[in-house]
């Protein structure tokens, strides 16, 4: 290998902390956080007991009649895991949307995805349809997100091309329209229980999690992450713009379409089980870029891990801050997220003058 090549390899790994170490530390932090977060709750259970319950089940043991077993294994642990999965999914989707529309303040909800999901969910809640049993609400939410994205893509497409500015304009406009539809349905809801469900859903929550709701979002987030890593190199190119993409052999419009479909799948499945949890998708990708740079091959895995970490702890705060009452998690992500986002903006402003 030439001297120059050695230098290239070094400068690609130029971060002060080696990348594998960052990944390892974050991975370990997620695992530790999940275990620790499972140990924290309004009902006090000793750390040793929590660990032995988790080990018992992970070793293949069945449910036991003990109270602690019910709380730790059937209520808390699925909820913490759901938090990790939802956090990772939203953070990944945020990173992708930011690159697709080449706008660092974009989030997964920018293109009307969550508004679409809300309309689907609220329609089910107000009409009381339950054709698919417990799955009716998530399926409707997902269908709403998918329909919203289909409309946005259709309207944003111009001469076979999918350009960022048009996407943002159409997405934001449709999002507002759908938000209005949701508000209207909420105001007209005849049934008070329906209204409560709607509002709780709009704020987003991890409560009500159990093992049965974990499967679909976990599978989608893991598969989505893998698929995005396959496209990471081209995602880098996409950020440079349509002309540069063409020169580097990347069909920008088609890649955008593919990425938005995957984002729809990610956000749709995640929002369907957790409601509209905000800010995760906006800020986590920025933190990841600060840690390991803008290269998607490096920042996407870090984004997923940070998103998981962020939401697991935001949920712990939601459960514990005013214990024994619980706060909607959307409030916590905003409380933590907004100041943090401003800090990142400030830091970025200092690091690179002229870029937003």
């Amino acid at each position: 290998m030439s001297v120059a090549a050695v230098r290239v390899r070094r400068s690609l790994e130029a971060a002060t902390v080696p990348y594998p170490m960052i990944l390892g530390v974050l991975g370990a932090a997620v695992v530790v956080s999940v275990v620790v977060a499972t140990g924290i709750g309004p009902v006090r259970i000793a750390a040793g007991e929590v660990t032995s319950i988790l080990l018992h089940h992970l070793g293949g043991g069945g449910d036991t009649a003990a109270n602690a077993d019910l709380i730790v294994w059937r209520l808390r642990f699925p909820r913490v895991l759901l938090g990790a999965v939802v956090g990772a999914g939203l953070a990944l989707a945020g990173a992708v949307v930011q690159s697709v529309v080449r706008n660092p303040v974009a989030d997964p909800y920018l293109l009307g995805l969550s508004s679409g999901a809300s309309v689907g969910a609220v329609a089910v809640i107000t009409t009381g349809v339950s054709a698919l049993g417990a799955m009716t609400l998530p399926v409707a939410a997902f269908a709403g997100a998918a329909a919203a994205m289909a409309v946005v893509l259709l309207l944003a497409r111009h001469r076979g091309r999918l350009l960022p500015l048009r996407l943002i304009l159409v997405g934001v406009t449709c999002g507002h329209l759908l938000g209005g539809v949701t508000s209207f349905m909420l105001a007209r809801a005849e049934n008070s229980s329906a209204q409560q469900q709607i509002i709780f859903w709009l704020l987003g929550a991890l409560s009500g999690a159990n093992w049965s709701v974990l499967g679909a979002p976990s599978a989608v987030v893991v598969a989505g992450c893998f698929w995005l890593l396959l496209r990471a190199r081209r995602l880098n190119v996409l950020v440079l713009g349509d002309e540069a993409s063409a020169g580097l052999g990347v069909n920008a419009s088609r890649l955008r379409l593919e990425l938005l479909l995957v984002t729809t799948l990610l956000v749709g499945t995640v929002v369907a089980v957790s409601g509209g949890i905000g800010f995760v998708g906006l800020i986590v990708a920025h933190l990841a870029r600060m840690l390991v740079g803008a290269d998607h091959r490096r920042m996407l895995p870090v984004t997923a891990l940070l998103g998981a970490l962020f939401l697991v702890w935001a949920d712990v705060a939601a459960r514990m801050l005013i214990t024994p009452t619980e706060l909607p998690i959307g409030i916590l992500t905003a409380f933590i997220g907004v100041p943090f986002f401003l800090l990142v903006m400030h830091a970025r402003g200092l690091a690179a003058e002229g870029s937003p």
Binding site: L230, V237, V239, A246, G247, L248
Partner: protein, 259 residues
């Protein structure tokens, strides 16, 4: 690598931007596209680097229609240096240049020793080695343009497409970039604003006016005072400088009026 443009037409919003344009760039040749703003230079180049599909006509690279091949296939053969707008994300110089390897890599491929070598060589050729870890956003305009050239070189192209590569650069950097490109020995097709630059570096010039080729040939036969006057609407004196190269001196047709 030989480039054949065959009767390429492009219309935008009902207006013909290119009408039945044909040209040939021989292997290793340097062809400069000249013409005033809006004459169709950039559009013609965009059909060559696969950014705009021609409404009719074909673009052939060594006899193969590039629009019938995958985008990556074309990008392994053709590198592009165009004006790029800065986006909000900050890649480092090495990261950006490494993106030139994209058409040669699949999904999860790791960079091979060869890829590292190619990137390192591109950095060296463009004199960017000492900037390797800097963010592109921190560099000057001339340095940034060199980064984009290095990225195009990392594609290991056999043809380079340059769309006004020297815009916004000072004289020294203009010459440096074109000197470098000329020295690579690959086929070059470049849209240039400076008639002097075209005369100095190109072996063929193609003059476009309102989407049609009005003249082509060697600089000394094409660049006459009459042609410059007709196409660019300026008065021009063309003569030979001391070094034997063409020199084009221009002044307004009528002074004191901006049309």
């Amino acid at each position: 690598m030989t480039l054949n443009v065959e009767r390429v037409s492009v219309a935008l919003g009902g207006t013909t931007v290119l009408g039945q344009v044909s040209m040939t760039v021989p292997d290793g040749g340097f062809t400069a596209l000249l013409g005033p703003n809006g004459s169709g230079k950039s559009t013609l180049l965009r059909t060559v680097y696969r950014a705009r599909r021609p409404d009719s006509g074909r673009v052939l690279v060594d006899g193969t229609d590039i629009w019938a091949m995958p985008a990556a296939w074309a990008a392994r053969r053709t590198g592009v240096l165009a004006q790029e707008h800065h986006s909000g994300f900050e890649f480092t110089v090495t990261e950006t240049v490494t993106m030139g390897r994209t058409p040669h890599l699949k999904g999860l491929d790791r960079l091979s020793r060869k890829d590292h070598d190619v990137v390192g060589q591109a950095l060296e050729q463009t004199g960017l080695t000492r900037f390797a870890t800097r963010r592109v956003g921190e560099l000057s305009g001339g340095e940034r343009q060199r980064v984009l050239l290095a990225r195009a070189l990392a594609q290991q192209p056999r043809m380079l497409v340059l769309d006004e590569p020297t815009n916004h650069l000072d004289v020294r950097h203009q010459l440096e970039i074109l000197e470098l490109v000329r020295g690579l020995g690959v086929t070059v097709v470049a849209a240039l604003h400076g008639l002097d630059l075209a005369a100095r570096y190109a072996d063929t010039v193609v003059v476009l006016q309102e989407g049609r080729i009005v003249a082509d040939g060697s600089p000394s036969t094409v660049l006459t005072g009459d042609l410059v006057r007709d196409v660019f609407e300026v008065a021009a004196i063309v003569d030979k400088a001391d070094d034997g190269l063409l020199r084009v001196t221009t002044r307004p047709l009528r002074s004191g009026r901006v049309r």
